[in-house]
C-alpha cells in the first residue's frame, strides 16, 4: 500500500509523512474472531490509507459474498487476509504487514492470526513491535488465547500494550459491560506484570474510537486508537537529551577486508590496501571514535579508530545503524564476535536459564541437542532440563518435563562454548535467541535469557548482566 493520508487538510507535499518522521511498528493480537483484521481494515480505511483500486477490489469481493451491514457492506478483514486460504476460510493464517502514514508518523502494522495453531506467526509479529493492540470481544471477555497472547507480550516486554475492547456496538455501547471486561483484563495484566496498559472501547466494524472519538461512548474520555498510536513514544532507550543509555554492542556480521579489490577512486586505492573493518548493526548503545572496546570471544581490548558508513566517516554511531568499525589493534575477530563498550560485558558462561516459546509441532524433551542463534553467533547447545511451564488458565507456573507446541516454558540450557550471556530484561537485543533444529534447520523456539549461568570467567563489566537484577 502506498501512503496517502489525511485528506482532511491535504496539501500535496505535506500529505506524505514528514521527512524526519519516526517509524512506529505495532501488531494486533487476541483470540480468533475478536476482530483484529476488521480493526486493521477500519484503521486503514478511516485514516484514508486504502487506495481506490484496493477499496474497489475489496468492495467487489464483499458484495459477491453477501457481506452486509454496519460497515457499508465492506468486509474489512479482506484488506489483510490476502491468502486464498484465508479468504476461503475467513481466518488469518499468517501475519500481514501493512504500511501507512499520518502527518504525525509512519506505521508498520502486523496483523496477526488468533488461532492457537498459528501462535508461531503471532510471536513473529510481536517480536518487532513497539506496541501490541490486544483485541477482546466484549461479549466473550478474556479467553485462553487472550491470556496466551498477553503472556507472550509480557515476556517479550513489548513496550506498549493497548487493550481494545471490541464489538461494543453489539452491547449497545454499555459502559457497565465495558467496565466489567476492563476490570477482568486488568487483573490478568497485573498478574503478568505488564506495567502500563491502555484500555479503549471500540467497534472495529462501525469505527467507534478507532480514528475518531465516538459520540456513542460518552462515558469514555480517552483518546482514539489512532491518536494513541500517534503519540506513544518509540521506546529506544534514550535519555532526555536523546542519548542512548544502553551499553554499546556490535555483533560482528562479517569482516570487510577487500585486499585491493576496492571501489574507491583509483588514486585512493592505495590507502585502502590494508583496509579492515568489522561490519554489523549496532544492537544497542552508541560508540565514538577514540572509545575503548572489548571483544568476545578472546577478551581483547582496543580503541575505535574509525566508523564507516559506506564511505562516510562518522564520529559517532548508534543503534540501529549498520556500520563498519575500524580498531587500532589487530585482534582475532570473526563473524559471531561481539564488540562492546569496555567494562560493560557480562560474565562469560556456558549455561543459562531461559523462557522458551515452543513453536514446533515436535515436542521438546530434556536432553535435546539444538543450535542457538544469539546475534550473529550460532552455538551448539543441550537442553539439560525443562523446569516449568506456564498454565494459561491460572497463569501460574507448573512443573513440566517437556514442552509441546505453543507452550511457554522454562528450561536450563548448556552451551558448547563460552559466551557472554545477557539477561533479556537488561538488553532486549542481546538477551534474545533462536532455538534451531540441528538437522533440518527449523526454528523450534523463541528464547529469552532469564538468568546467565555460573561464570566460567568474569566479564569485563561490573554490573551489566551479573546476577543482580536492576
Amino acid at each position: 500500500m502506498t501512503l496517502t493520508i489525511d485528506t482532511r487538510n491535504l496539501d500535496a507535499a505535506a500529505a506524505v509523512s514528514a521527512p524526519e518522521g519516526t517509524l512506529f511498528r505495532f501488531a494486533t493480537a487476541g483470540s480468533v474472531d475478536d476482530g483484529k483484521s476488521t480493526l486493521v481494515g477500519r484503521l486503514l480505511h478511516d485514516s484514508k490509507a486504502i487506495l481506490a483500486d484496493q477499496l474497489e477490489a475489496v468492495t467487489r469481493t464483499s458484495t459477491e459474498r453477501g457481506f452486509g451491514g454496519e460497515s457499508g457492506g465492506i468486509d474489512f478483514a479482506l484488506l489483510t487476509d490476502g491468502l486464498r486460504a484465508e479468504r476461503e476460510q475467513g481466518i488469518t493464517i499468517d501475519v500481514a504487514y501493512r504500511y501507512f502514514a499520518t502527518p504525525a508518523r509512519s506505521f508498520i502494522l502486523a496483523d496477526c492470526p488468533g488461532h492457537v495453531q498459528y501462535t508461531r506467526n503471532m510471536v513473529t509479529g510481536a517480536t518487532t513491535a513497539d506496541a501490541v493492540i490486544m483485541l477482546i470481544d466484549a461479549r466473550k471477555g478474556v479467553l485462553e488465547q487472550t491470556r496466551r497472547h498477553l503472556s507472550v507480550v509480557a515476556l517479550l516486554r513489548v513496550p506498549h500494550v493497548i487493550i481494545a475492547v471490541n464489538k461494543i456496538d453489539l452491547l449497545d455501547y454499555s459502559e457497565a459491560a465495558y467496565r466489567e471486561v476492563e476490570a477482568s483484563v486488568r487483573l490478568v495484566t497485573a498478574e503478568l506484570g505488564i506495567a502500563e496498559v491502555l484500555v479503549i472501547p471500540v467497534s472495529a466494524l462501525v469505527g467507534d474510537n478507532v480514528v475518531d472519538r465516538s459520540e456513542r461512548t460518552p462515558w469514555y474520555d480517552g483518546p482514539s486508537l489512532l491518536e494513541l498510536l500517534e503519540t506513544l513514544t518509540v521506546i529506544d532507550d534514550l535519555d532526555e537529551r536523546g542519548q542512548a543509555t544502553e551499553a554499546f554492542r556490535l555483533p560482528v556480521q562479517l569482516v570487510l577486508r577487500p585486499q585491493g579489490a576496492v571501489v574507491v577512486a583509483p588514486e585512493l586505492a592505495d590507502s585502502y590496501r590494508d583496509y579492515r573493518a568489522y561490519a554489523g548493526q549496532v544492537a544497542s548503545g552508541s560508540i565514538k571514535v577514540g572509545d575503548s572496546v572489548s571483544v568476545e570471544p578472546g577478551g581483547g581490548t582496543s580503541t575505535v579508530t574509525g566508523i564507516d558508513f559506506a564511505g562516510v566517516a562518522l564520529d559517532e554511531a548508534f543503534a540501529p545503524q549498520s556500520i563498519a568499525l575500524r580498531l587500532a589493534d589487530d585482534l582475532d575477530i570473526a563473524r559471531g564476535a561481539v564488540i562492546a563498550a569496555v567494562d560493560t560485558l557480562p560474565p562469560i558462561t556456558r549455561s543459562l536459564e531461559a523462557d522458551l516459546f515452543w513453536l514446533d509441532p515436535r515436542p521438546l524433551a530434556p536432553g535435546a541437542r539444538v543450535l542457538l542463534k544469539f546475534g550473529t553467533t550460532v552455538v551448539q547447545a543441550l537442553i539439560s532440563a525443562v523446569t516449568g511451564r506456564l498454565d494459561l488458565t491460572t497463569l501460574a507456573g507448573e512443573p513440566a518435563t517437556s514442552l509441546a507446541v505453543n507452550d511457554i516454558g522454562q528450561a536450563s540450557i548448556r552451551l558448547s562454548r563460552d559466551l557472554p550471556i545477557e539477561r533479556y530484561t537488561q538488553n532486549r537485543r542481546s538477551g534474545a535467541f533462536l532455538v534451531i533444529h540441528p538437522q533440518d534447520g527449523a526454528t523450534l523456539a523463541a528464547g529469552i535469557v532469564t538468568a546467565p549461568g555460573e561464570p566460567t570467567r568474569a566479564g569485563d563489566g561490573s554490573g551489566a548482566g551479573s546476577d543482580v537484577s536492576p
Partner: protein
Amino acid sequence: MRAPPMTTALVSTSTSTSTPTAHRLSELDVLESEAIHIIREVVAEFERPVLLFSGGKDSVVVLHLAAKAFWPGKIPFSLLHVDTGHNFPEVLEFRDKTVAAHGVRLTVAKVEDYIQDGRLVERADGTRNPLQTMPLLDAIAAGRHDAVFGGARRDEDKARAKERILSLRDEFGQWDPRNQRPELWNLYNGRHTVGQHVRAFPISNWTELNVWRYIERENIELPPLYYAHDREVYRRDNMWRAVSPVSPPHADETVELRTVRYRTVGDMSCTGAVDSQAASVADVVREVGVSTITERGATRADDRISEAAMEDRKKEGYF
C-alpha cells in the same frame, strides 16, 4: 547508476560535541540500516547468493544498498536477470550500463530461448511474466545459488504482504504460505537442507514512497521511462500501453501521443504507463505521495487476472 558516496574519499561529518546529536534515526535511515543488515546476514550465512536485477527501481535500490553494505569492497555476489524478451530496450541498456559501473557479473536467462526450443509455449494473451519461473529456477540450479535476493516489497500486493524477509523455497522454488518459518526479532535463520534455497527481500518493509525518497536522497539514476516523457500509447484494460512490436494496438484501438511515465517497468506486454507530468525525482515523490491508486493496480495487467494471481505465481516459484 551514480553511486555518490562510494567513489569519494572519506569525509568526516564532524559535529560539535557540546550539543550532542540525538541518537534517533529517520525513517529512511532505519529502513536503510535494516536492509544492509539483511544483505550482510545473507552474504555471511550462504555460499552463493545472487541478486535478481532487472534494472527496475526496486532492484536498483537493492544494488545500491549492497554497494553500501560492502564498501570499500566490491559487491561479493553476481546478478541474474530473467529476460522475457519483451523488455523495454532502454531498460536493458540501463541494466548493462549499471552492471558495468558496479563491476559485477550479470547472467541473463532468456524466456525467448525456452520458447524457441519448445520448453515453454507462448501464452494466448501474449503475456510472458508467468513464463519467467522456469528459466529462473533453471538459472538458480545452474548457478548453485542457495540464496536469491529480490527487490520485492510487502506493500506491492496482498500475498507479498504475508511473506517473510527470508523466505524458504523447496527444490521446485515453491513458497508454502501456510507453513512459513517463524521470523523472530532481527535474528534471521538461513538454515536449509540440500535442494532448498532462500529468497531474501531486504526492502520488504519499504513502501513505494520510501523507495522514491531514497532514490532522491541518494541521487540514484534510473531508466528514463520512470519520468514523464512523450510516448505513442493506446488504451487497453484501463491502462496506457506502449506501441511496440510486442504490444501492437488492435484495429479498434486508437494510438495517441501522450505525456506518461511508468511506475513499474516489467514486461512490455503487460505493463502500463500512467499519465504524468513528473519529470524529476522530486516531482515523482510528490506524485506518489498523493496517488490514489497502488503501483501494481495502475500498471500491471497480469495481476488483474484473478484475485490471487500473485500468490499463485509465488507458490510456483515466481519471485
